[in-house]
Symmetry: C2
Subunit: 218 residues, 2 copies
């Protein structure tokens, strides 16, 4: 790690929030966001896929530490893999009024309780819709949205062009070995990002994705 | 009115939502947003100050009718004039868990029930914070945020430069006569927008604000 880690009071909120982000990966995200901020003065962060705000607290803490804003994008109706009948479904996230998943109240509580409402802008909408209206260059982009082929491909195609030169692209659940997990984050985001020539031009970096899964140090 | 009005099923949702938007002004907003969309191909709309989503339904309906996206910006903790002890406070909007106003659940319910989640992106954050991260040119901008001098001035300074040439700026509660209401929307948004030379250059229009309060037809 290059930077001071997330402060203890925020860490407690991150660990208390529902979600799938292991602590060591949260710490790596925080460090990568700080590095992106150092590389791209003034530019904001975007997180695609916030769920109940667990990873958002690490990234919001980084945003606070370096005076940036994190835009946390999620429609909050749950990804495909969070729906009833799928492995990652949590029935307590269903809104009894509509019968549909709604993680927004849980996300809102996480951010309010962590005291991060000044640093985290909650963007409630479908990722491609938000991306099509977005033009601001980013210091840091974390993609952890829908893990199917279509959402992963759209997140790659519509969001990665917004990473500023020197900024960092981080991708969650990148598994080079199929035995470790699903393919789309690796095949439809990570590999195309590398193949797109952006890495060679130095304006798109996937160091976090690489480090998460290969144990590399950046 | 130049365009077909908001469809009846959406109108029922608008009128059922809590808020301060009279029906005739909602209709004028809808028409102005359609005109802005015609003038600026492809560009999105922004609403600053959404409260419980009443005006948002009119603007979301316009967005649907012309294939655009409305970004609806509000921190959802209530403006100064919505806080306890002020004229426009509604105690039923206080979150019992935090003791603080939170209009987000009400806004979310309005948008979900109206079926506008595809067209309306909910942006939860302080207006100046969101504006400082925003760079996309707008077909239509509606300012109805905090009505004090400071928030009105910031909304003018930070948001109006994003209205694209030919786009429309609409401002709520513009009162040329002090007997009619508070000064900041008129003095700190409307007059500076006119004085800024933008109207003369044809790239900033305040037709809705003028029409609302003077009965003019655009």
């Amino acid at each position: 790690m290059r930077y001071p880690p997330l402060q203890a009071s925020l860490r407690a909120h991150a660990l208390a929030a529902r979600g799938f982000m292991p602590e060591n990966e949260g710490d790596a995200l925080h460090d990568a966001a700080m590095l992106g901020a150092d590389s791209v003065p003034g530019a904001p962060f975007v997180e695609v896929g916030s769920y109940c705000g667990r990873s958002t607290v690490w990234l919001g803490g980084a945003a606070r530490a370096c005076g940036r804003t994190l835009f946390a994008v999620d429609h909050h109706f749950g990804s495909e893999e969070n729906q009833p009948g799928w492995e990652w479904h949590d029935e307590s996230l269903v809104d009894p009024r509509t019968g549909r998943m709604d993680t927004l109240p849980h996300f809102r509580a996480t951010i309010v309780d962590a005291g991060l409402t000044a640093e985290v802008v909650t963007v409630v909408g479908d990722s491609p819709t938000v991306a099509r209206g977005w033009t601001t260059p980013l210091a840091f982009l974390f993609i952890d949205g829908g893990h199917g082929v279509e959402p992963a491909t759209l997140d790659h195609d519509l969001w990665t062009p917004h990473v500023a030169p020197g900024g960092i692209l981080a991708i969650h659940d990148v598994f080079p070995d199929p035995a470790d997990g699903g393919r789309p984050p690796y095949e439809n985001i990570y590999l195309p990002a590398l193949a797109g020539g952006r890495l060679e031009r130095g304006d798109l970096q996937v160091r976090v994705a690489a480090r998460h899964r290969h144990g590399e140090e950046t």
